[in-house]
Amino acid sequence: MSAAVKDTARRLRQSMAWIHTWLGLLAGWILFAMFLTGTASYFRPEITRWMQPEVRFPPVSASQAAGAAVAHLQPAYLGDEQWYIYLPDDRTGATRVFTRPRPDPDPKAPPAARRPELTLDPAKGTPVSARETRGGEHFYRFHFQLQLPHPWGRWLAGLCAMFMLSAIISGVITHKRIFADFFTLRWSKGQRSWLDAHNVSAVLALPFHAMITYTGLITLVLMYMPWPIMANFKVPETFAAQAYGRGPEDQPVGRSAALAPIEPIVDAAMREWQGARPATVIIRHPGDGAATVTIARGADQLNARAAQITYSGTTGSKLAASPPQGAAVTTAGVMLGLHMARFAGPALRWCAFLLGLTGAAMIGTGLMLWTAKRRRTGQPQFFGGQLVERLNIGAVACLPAGMAAFFLANRLIPSGLPGRADIEVSAMFWVWFGLAGFSLLRPVQKAWVETLAVSAMTFATVPVANALLTNRGFLASLRSGDWLFVSFDLAMLVIAAALAFAAKHAHAKRGELPRRRSGALSTLVSGEAADAI
């Protein structure tokens, strides 16, 4: 290689390292929160089930659940425009329904809002009185809306995802020894260890990190870049009709007609899909002569854009099926499917969960590396360094406490209290930001130990609260073979143990350093000691 080429490569690497450092740092704290809550969202229905311990039913067939739900909706909501029935599967365990009333004929009237969602007993169709909660939906929404008003949360999440993608690409270019350092992880070597941990968590799971970041960004691409559609379609609905094959929505004829039995319709759809389970039943204009029943397929395929079949609501005969998807729509559907992993069975879902944690570890170690690198130069801690250190504590050590507090609040807040779902969400943010605020009052090293310990304890308390306040504690669940609750308790304990290990490690580091006082380390040590006092 000539000297000029070598020089160009070196300069490219340097500029990429600069981009990597600063984009990674600026977006790092939000990305850490997005990764952690997004990872929890792999278990969105399971979290919701855990947060509604009252909801517990034996599994029923899809057609039986649909029949029971229709029997419940028929007397009360026959005049509504549309019924949405989310059928239970082995993950959700209960039927959810909501309806949308017919719009006011007055053109000046505001559009009709959907009625509140109900949870139904899948076999009987009777409404279940369960505690009000956002459940797994809260982490899922937070991970791309960041609890900010629409559309700012999604824009900020998209900006952070752009930073992440740039950081991944620039990181790969910066990293000189991807293969030589592939298996290298050395502990207790200060900055070297943080670099090893950052490299290993990034490189080993690189296919996952690149996939999850890119597909996450693409999921909202029509919102981030609406211009291609605006330039080509005067009416946005034309785009939807062309891309997804949605025809103009039919109007009611005004002649009342009985709804055909739903069970044979659901069975017919299952036959067409070779036994695959339907996920959603949408009934338009129930009780009208023009009623239709649309059945959407469950998420058993890589493509998240599910196939649909529409049947006549009065005769039960098949009217239309969603047309074969074009290449672009299939690509978009597969990307969304890869991101959400709804197709994944339990084994693959746990793999995705662990890989998500690896992503959070990559971001966390990257943030730690930034401070470790600058502390080592021996300069007194400058304002920027202190700020980053404090924000690292707030994100890495305090967010887990907030997430555990969300679970804990679910068990502690009385189940009938009005507005309790919002209180649960507030509990997460009060604990998260409250603990971060408290940590500001403590010296940095102690703050790390204490916040990690509080996070560990909060997680460890969740199974205890569950055992004391519900009849579905660990032993009871073990006896009844309720693996969801058993796994949830075990997961809480493993997370608590991991956080306690981190707290112990941070504590040991704090005690260890002054003993190693020697020439090269003295400046570092005095900096650390000053922090610790």
Binding site: F182, F183, W187, V200, P207, L302, A347, L348, T358
Partner: protein, 106 residues
């Protein structure tokens, strides 16, 4: 549980590690393949990992599951190697045996 892809991947990556001077353990009771052979065996086991996942889940989901399990196996191997290097590498043998057993019974 379809984890045989991850077990094959673990063994394959352990072979790749022993082919590298830095991670190659000093000769002991277990005979080590020559670095060149270790690399070839490692690559074969990684290919086998993806193939078993494809056989079980079909090409679309199999490739996704295979790659995911390779990534996780690599993470597990590196964590174990940083703690007990020899044991971590020696676990490759039971991993292959268990994976073959699982793949045969599937």
């Amino acid at each position: 549980m379809p984890f045989e892809a991850g077990l094959y991947a673990y063994a394959g990556l352990a072979c790749l590690a022993t082919s590298m001077g830095r991670h190659r353990p000093r000769p002991g009771r277990v005979p080590l393949p020559h670095p060149q052979y270790a690399r070839a065996i490692g690559a074969t086991l990684l290919a086998l990992a993806v193939l078993t996942a494809v056989r079980r889940l079909g090409p679309e989901q199999g490739i996704v599951a295979g790659v995911a399990q390779i990534c996780l196996a690599a993470g597990l191997l590196v964590l174990l190697m940083s703690w007990r290097q020899r044991t971590a590498l020696a676990l490759a043998l039971p991993a292959v045996a268990l994976a073959t057993l699982l793949a045969a019974s599937a």
